[in-house]
């Protein structure tokens, strides 16, 4: 598999390390039921056959964390975005 890093360009998968589901959002620790929310956040994962948004890091490259939209059946990559941009948009949207 080759992943187009938005900064570095297309690189082999050996330069990247995988984390997992990029749709999860870290819960607010101050709310009363935080433990249940964190349990879901830490342990529960969907395992879709098809389109999946995933966190990868270009670990042997620019160190950027990336959100990779990928088909888990074909490994076809639809889109790669800088995780920081998505997180920043999410943070400003939440405010």
């Amino acid at each position: 598999m080759r992943i187009p890093c938005p900064y570095c360009g297309v690189r082999g998968v050996d330069e990247f390390s995988y984390l997992g589901d990029a749709t999860l959002v870290r819960p607010d620790a101050s709310v009363p039921n935080a433990e249940a929310a964190f349990a879901d956040y830490v342990y529960l994962r969907d395992n879709p056959a098809g389109r999946h948004r995933e966190l990868w890091q270009h670990a042997v490259g620019c160190q950027s964390w990336l959100v990779v939209t990928r088909d888990t059946r074909t490994h076809a990559i639809e889109q790669v975005e800088a995780a920081r941009d998505i997180a920043a948009a999410r943070a400003s949207g939440a405010e």
């Binding site: 900064y7 570095c8 050996d14 330069e15 042997v60 490259g61 620019c62 160190q63």
Partner: protein, 192 residues
């Protein structure tokens, strides 16, 4: 009472220098000594301030991507979004820049690789496409050589590349480069 401390190359004495047996080297390795290196990251919201400061101090337009822009004895090489490796062949002090600056003069060792068979040799260690149509003077890449992280950029068309490697990996990197270059005629020399 303390005596002056003597600086040492990361290569000495872990690897022996090597001269090309035939006289005509396909690949030449040289340690680039005496460089000042610094990692530079723009503070949040102050990116333009850094760009202005770099322009004012060095006449350099900070590259947005994995590129190297040089002027005089100073160059800035893209090292990731909002990050650069500042390189100077003199004793430039980058600490005054309005940015997160960390001295890397001892954190990285830089090797200059040149020669007609440099590309072919590097292809055995890195997966970067170095064909002239894909990578030229001013281009840079953060990648790995076998499993060693490297920061690589091209300085001369001929070609000549400079490769920055973490200092504690330098001896292994040198050995692997020489091994890969053996069959292509190698001449290698490093600092003391």
């Amino acid at each position: 009472m303390a005596e002056p401390l003597v600086a040492r190359s990361a290569f000495r004495p872990h690897v022996a220098p090597l001269a090309s047996p035939t006289g005509v080297a396909g690949v030449t390795l040289r340690e680039a000594e005496g460089l000042t290196l610094a990692s530079v990251a723009a503070f949040r919201g102050r990116e333009a301030e850094l760009a202005d400061a770099v322009r004012a101090a060095y006449g350099i337009e900070l590259p947005a991507g994995p590129k190297r822009v040089a002027s005089g004895d100073v160059a800035f090489v893209g090292a990731g979004p909002g990050k650069w490796l500042a390189v100077s062949s003199g004793a430039t002090d980058f600490a005054g820049l309005p940015a997160a600056v960390a001295d890397q003069s001892d954190g990285r060792t830089v090797v200059r690789v040149s020669g007609p068979r440099a590309r072919e040799t590097l292809a055995t260690l890195t997966a970067i496409d170095l064909h002239p149509r894909a990578f030229g003077v001013g281009d840079a890449a953060l990648t790995h050589a076998a499993s060693i992280s490297i920061h690589l950029w091209q300085v001369v068309d001929a070609p000549t590349y400079e490769i920055a490697v973490f200092r504690t990996f330098a001896a292994t990197f040198w050995r692997w480069m020489v091994e890969a270059a053996q069959s292509r005629g190698v001449e290698a020399r490093h600092g003391g």
